[in-house]
């Protein structure tokens, strides 16, 4: 029994299906139960959250959590499938601290909202950036410019006239 099947056995109602993510076991989780499952998974000894990946599948958004247990030396991938219009899932910052930045990054670039995150704001792009670049429908042709405001924070605008040099 691999780690995903074990999870299915322990939480039959929350785990929708089990599968593989190329040589790593993967469990698809119901998004309502995600926090509960995450707590269980931490209890099982998965102490290292490697990465959170958001994938825009056009009709849905998938969020994939790659976990590793240093104690058991086992891999586990969790996947939640979210609605494309309003992707929302519970935050796991209370369980793995590293999720703080990983979730902010996913929010920034893919636009997944993490409920319960203490400080959910953009991390790589400045606050006020329009769109989420790793969505498939992101408009790559509109230029956005950043200037510094009075208080030293970034201001985003499509108009770069006070930044660009007049030639």
């Amino acid at each position: 029994m691999n780690s995903a099947e074990e999870l299915k056995y322990l939480l039959p109602n929350s785990v929708v299906s089990v599968g593989v993510q190329t040589n790593k076991p993967q469990a698809v989780i119901r998004k309502e139960d995600f926090l509960k499952v995450a707590e269980k998974v931490k209890e099982l000894g998965y102490d290292n959250l490697s990465v959170i990946t958001g994938v825009d599948r056009v009709d849905r958004i998938e969020v994939i959590y790659n976990l590793f247990s240093y104690k058991k030396k086992q891999n586990l991938a969790l996947k939640v499938v979210l609605d494309h219009r309003s992707p929302e899932v519970d935050s796991v910052t209370s369980i793995w601290k590293v999720a703080d930045w990983l979730e902010r990054e996913t929010y920034d670039l893919v636009g997944v909202k993490f409920n319960g995150h203490p400080d959910l704001k953009r991390i790589l792009l400045p606050e006020g950036w329009i769109g989420h670049p790793l969505r498939k429908d992101y408009d790559m042709n509109t230029e956005q410019f950043v200037t510094i405001g009075e208080d030293g924070e970034d201001i985003v605008s499509p108009d770069g006239s006070n930044l660009l040099r007049r030639k």
Partner: protein, 197 residues
């Protein structure tokens, strides 16, 4: 084929080693107009004021420490012992833009960094020069199509010398630096009016 033997005693250097102060200074090729008058005690060197100023400026360019990306690592390599820009009087990297007169824009200028680079440039006191290093700073380079990279730093600040490469080799940096020195040498009204050619 027989090995060719070369008689090294027959070879004469065509260029004489500079001996006097005048010849030494001329040999550096850093001043255009240079006259020497013989005094009772020795030589007196004469030049125009703007040439003397240019010579002072180009011999001690102080860059501001502002690495942006990969190219900045090559900037460190250039300033270290192997390539040694101390030869150009440039090893004095200043942390404050107020004390610097040269800026290497070394790396990718992202949209978010652009206003900061511009501010840094504006904080430097005149006279100031900018060398744009690497494809990224020149045109956007490999990141030209990116949503958050400025397509060339010359969109926001004037650039004096462009050094291509990704990253440019240290030798390319040195060549770029020499080009900038050449440019500074010919600055000012004297050179513009054709006096100091």
């Amino acid at each position: 084929m027989d090995p060719v033997t070369i008689d090294t005693t027959k070879i004469r250097m065509t260029k004489r080693k500079p001996e006097t102060a005048l010849e030494k200074l001329e040999d550096t090729n850093l001043i255009n107009t240079l006259l020497a008058a013989k005094d009772r005690e020795g030589f007196i060197l004469l030049t125009t004021i703007d040439q003397a100023m240019n010579w002072g400026r180009l011999s001690s360019l102080w860059p501001v420490t502002s690495g942006l990306a990969c190219c900045a690592i090559e900037m460190m390599a250039v300033s270290m012992a192997h390539h040694d820009i101390a030869r150009f009087g440039m090893e004095v990297f200043r942390a404050s833009p107020r004390q610097a007169d040269l800026m290497f824009v070394a790396g990718t200028v992202t949209k978010r960094m652009a206003p900061r680079v511009k501010q840094l440039y504006e904080m430097m006191s005149e006279p100031k020069w900018v060398i744009s290093v690497g494809s990224c700073a020149n045109t956007g380079g490999p990141y030209h199509e990116s949503y958050c990279v400025l397509k060339g730093v010359d969109n926001i600040i004037p650039v004096d010398v462009y050094i291509p490469g990704c990253p440019p080799r240290p030798e390319a940096w040195l060549y770029g630096i020499i080009q900038l020195r050449e440019k500074i040498k010919n600055e000012g009204y004297g050179a513009k009016w054709g006096l100091n050619k």
